[in-house]
C-alpha cells in the first residue's frame, strides 16, 4: 500500500509521475467532504502511529483543543532516527507527493492552516526533494491559500533538524522547531494537542502514519480496519538490518507475518554458516529477544482468552504481541544479530549511542546513560568485572521512570534486557577476553 511504487522502475518523485498514477484524486475528494467525517474515518480505521509508541491516530486527533481560538498546527515527524529504522527515507526520497497528499488531507480534516515537515538534518537531499514537491503541489493548487478553489488554505514548510536524536520526541521536536535546544517538555501540561508549537494546539504525526491517512480516506475507515489484525490494523513497513541474507524494507499487513517468516522466508535466513542469536524487534530501544526463549501466557482472540506458547519465530509482528512478550513493535526496525556477536560489545555500541544522544536535561538520564557507556566501554577496552552486569542493571533501573520523556526508558531497556537475557556473557566477559582474537573479528565499539 504505502510502498507500492517504491523501487518501481520508471517511477519518479515529480508531480507528473504522481498524477499519472492517480495522485491527488483522494485530496480532491476529501475537500468535498466534512472534516469531522474524515476524522471519523481515521478513528474507525484503528490506525496506530507508526513512529514508535503505536498511539491511535484518531484518538490523537480527537484530543486536539478546537475551542481555544488559537491556530492548530500539524507537524510531520520526519526525524527518522531510531537505529534500525529506514522506512520514511524511501517515502521522502521516492514518493514525496504521497506524504504531501496525506498531510494535506490530515490538515483539511483538522482545520490546520500551517504545517511543517520536520526532517532530520542528515537528509539534505530529502529536504530538497520535499521542497521541490511542495512547490509543484502549490503550482497545482494542492497546497496554498485556496486549495482546489474551496477557499480552504494551508501552507507547508520544510524544517531541517541538525543531528539530534531527541528531536524525534514530539515535544523535543516542537522546542527545536521554536529554535531552541530540543529539551522535551513535561506532560502535563504540555500535551501538544493543547499546548504545542507556540503554545497552540498541535498534531505531530509520523511520515508513514500520514501516508496511511490517505489510504484510509480512499477506502474508508471500516474497510481499512479489516486489513491486518484486530487492534493492529493496516499494513506496516518492517525494516530488517544486520545479520540476514536479504536485509531491507518489507510491507506486510500488521500481525499477518511472524518474526520467523520474516527472518527465514522473507529475509533468507542467517548468513552462511551462522545461526541467529538475538533480535531487537522495534528499533534499538526495544528490549532484545533471545533466540531459543519461549513466551507463554493468555491472549485475547476474538472474545475468548486462549493460551499461547511461542518460540521467538512464532511471534506475530504486531504492536500487541510484541508488547505481550515484553518488547515492542516500536518503529518497525528489526535488528538481527548472529552467533558472531558478543553481547557485551553490542550493548557497548548501543550505550555509546544513547549517551551521545541524551539531551542532558534530566540528571538520571544524562548521568546514567553516560555511566552505562563508561562501564560497557571499560569492560571492552580495560578490565571487566564479574559484578559489572549487576552494576549496569542498577544504573538502568534508576533511570527508567524518572525522566521527563521516554528517552529514559529507551536508554534503559537495552541494558536491562541484555543483562536479563545474556547475563552469563557479562559475567564471563573477562574470560572471553583472554581467548585469542579471531583475525578479522567483528568490531562493535
Amino acid at each position: 500500500m504505502i510502498f507500492k511504487h517504491i523501487d518501481e522502475v520508471g517511477y519518479t518523485p515529480d508531480i507528473d509521475c504522481y498524477l499519472r498514477h492517480g495522485g491527488y484524486e483522494i485530496l480532491k475528494n476529501a475537500v468535498t467532504r466534512k472534516p469531522e467525517e474524515l476524522i471519523d474515518q481515521v478513528k474507525k480505521s484503528g490506525l496506530r502511529g507508526r513512529g514508535g509508541a503505536g498511539f491511535p491516530c484518531g484518538v490523537k486527533w480527537g484530543l486536539v483543543d478546537r475551542k481555544s481560538g488559537k491556530p492548530i498546527y500539524l507537524i510531520v515527524n520526519a526525524d527518522e532516527s531510531e537505529p534500525g529504522t529506514f522506512k520514511d527515507r524511501y517515502i521522502i526520497h521516492q514518493d514525496p507527493h504521497q506524504l504531501i497528499e496525506g498531510t494535506m488531507i490530515s490538515c483539511f480534516a483538522n482545520n490546520v492552516k500551517q504545517a511543517y515537515i520536520y526532517i532530520r538534518g542528515e537528509f539534505p537531499i530529502g529536504a530538497r526533494i520535499l521542497e521541490q514537491a511542495i512547490a509543484e503541489a502549490r503550482r497545482h493548487n494542492f497546497v496554498g491559500p485556496n486549495i482546489l478553489g474551496t477557499g480552504y488554505g494551508c501552507e507547508i514548510y520544510v524544517h531541517r533538524g541538525a543531528g539530534a536524536y531527541i528531536c524525534g520526541e514530539e515535544t523535543g521536536l516542537i522546542e527545536s522547531l521554536e529554535g531552541k535546544r530540543a529539551y522535551p517538555r513535561i506532560k502535563p501540561p504540555y500535551f501538544p494537542a493543547v499546548l504545542g508549537l507556540y503554545q497552540c494546539p498541535t498534531i505531530v504525526n509520523n511520515v508513514e502514519t500520514l501516508c496511511h491517512v490517505k489510504h484510509i480516506v480512499e477506502i474508508g475507515g471500516e474497510a481499512y480496519s479489516k486489513i491486518g489484525t484486530p487492534n493492529n490494523t493496516g499494513t506496516r513497513i518492517l525494516c530488517v538490518s544486520g545479520h540476514v541474507r536479504k536485509p531491507g524494507y518489507y510491507e506486510y499487513e500488521v500481525g499477518k507475518i511472524t518474526l520467523g517468516q520474516l527472518l527465514y522466508d522473507v529475509c533468507g535466513g542467517p548468513l552462511p554458516g551462522r545461526t541467529f542469536k538475538a533480535i531487537i524487534p522495534g528499533g534499538s530501544s526495544a528490549k532484545v529477544l533471545k533466540v531459543g526463549e519461549r513466551y507463554k501466557g493468555k491472549r485475547k482472540v476474538g472474545a475468548e482468552m486462549v493460551d499461547y506458547d511461542w518460540g521467538i519465530e512464532d511471534v506475530p509482528m504486531d504492536f500487541d504481541s510484541l508488547a505481550m512478550i515484553g518488547s515492542m513493535g516500536g518503529s518497525g526496525g528489526v535488528i538481527v544479530m548472529d552467533d558472531s556477536v558478543n553481547m557485551v560489545e553490542a550493548l557497548a555500541n548501543i550505550n555509546a549511542f544513547y549517551s551521545h544522544e541524551s539531551c542532558g536535561q534530566c540528571t538520571p538520564c544524562r548521568e546514567g546513560s553516560l555511566w552505562m557507556k563508561k562501564i560497557t566501554s571499560r569492560m571492552v577496552y580495560e578490565e571487566a568485572r564479574a559484578e559489572d552486569g549487576a552494576l549496569l542493571k542498577s544504573v538502568a533501573d534508576q533511570i527508567a521512570g524518572r525522566t521527563i520523556c521516554a528517552f529514559g526508558e529507551a536508554c534503559s531497556w537495552p541494558t536491562q534486557s541484555f543483562i536479563a537475557k545474556f547475563g552469563d556473557e557479562f559475567k564471563g566477559y573477562s574470560e572471553t577476553k583472554k581467548q585469542p582474537k579471531v583475525p578479522d573479528s567483528l568490531e562493535l565499539i
Binding site: S81, G84, E122, H159, S241, G242, A346, L444
Partner: protein
C-alpha cells in the same frame, strides 16, 4: 558577515515561514554553514541580531546540535555511521579505511586538507549497511574495498583540481 547574495536572499525568504523569528535559528545556521563551511562567533552574533535574540540563544543551539561545527573542516566531509546495524556489518573497519587512506584521525582535518573523517550516529539506511555520507551524498554498502574506491575518487578530483 560576508555571505553570498543568494544566502542572504534565502535567509530573508525563510524567516517569515514562522510565527516567531526565533524558529528560524536552525535554518539560518544551516544556510550560513553551507555558505561559509562553519559557524564562527561572528556568525552567532549575526544570527542573534538578525532574529532579535541574545547571542547565548544561538550559541546554545550551536553547541547542542551535532551537525553545527565551530571550526573549519576538510574540503570533503566523510561521515561514517557508527551505530549498531552498520557496526554489525563492519562500519568500524570502513571508518578505519578512510582514516588510513587519508592519513588522518577521526574529527581532524587530513594533512592534505582534503577531508575530515567522522563517526556519526544512525543515518537511517540500516538495510544497506555500512553507510557513509560524503557531504550531502549517501553511499551504501561501503565495505573496505568500496571505501578505498571512494577515497581514490576524492584523491583523483583533488589532483585534477591542482593541475
Amino acid at each position: 558577515m560576508n555571505l553570498k547574495p543568494e544566502t542572504l536572499a534565502r535567509i530573508d525568504e525563510v524567516i517569515p515561514h514562522y510565527a516567531s523569528k526565533r524558529s528560524a535559528t536552525l535554518p539560518l545556521l544551516h544556510l550560513i554553514q553551507e555558505d561559509v563551511g562553519w559557524i564562527s562567533k561572528e556568525a552567532i552574533e549575526w544570527v542573534a541580531a538578525k532574529l532579535e535574540l541574545q547571542p547565548i540563544n544561538v550559541y546554545e543551539v550551536v553547541t547542542f546540535y551535532p551537525m553545527f561545527r565551530q571550526k573549519p573542516i576538510g574540503r570533503r566531509h566523510i561521515k561514517v555511521c557508527r551505530t549498531l546495524s552498520c557496526a554489525l556489518m563492519g562500519g568500524y573497519k570502513t571508518c578505519e579505511t578512510f582514516e588510513k587512506e587519508f592519513d588522518t584521525k577521526m574529527g581532524e582535518v587530513s594533512p592534505d586538507g582534503e577531508v575530515t573523517v567522522e563517526f556519526v550516529e544512525c543515518l537511517a539506511s540500516c538495510g544497506t549497511a555500512p553507510v557513509v555520507m560524503i557531504d550531502d551524498e549517501l553511499h551504501e554498502n561501503v565495505d573496505s574495498a568500496k571505501a578505498k574506491h571512494l577515497c581514490g575518487q576524492i584523491k583523483a578530483e583533488a589532483s585534477q583540481r591542482k593541475t
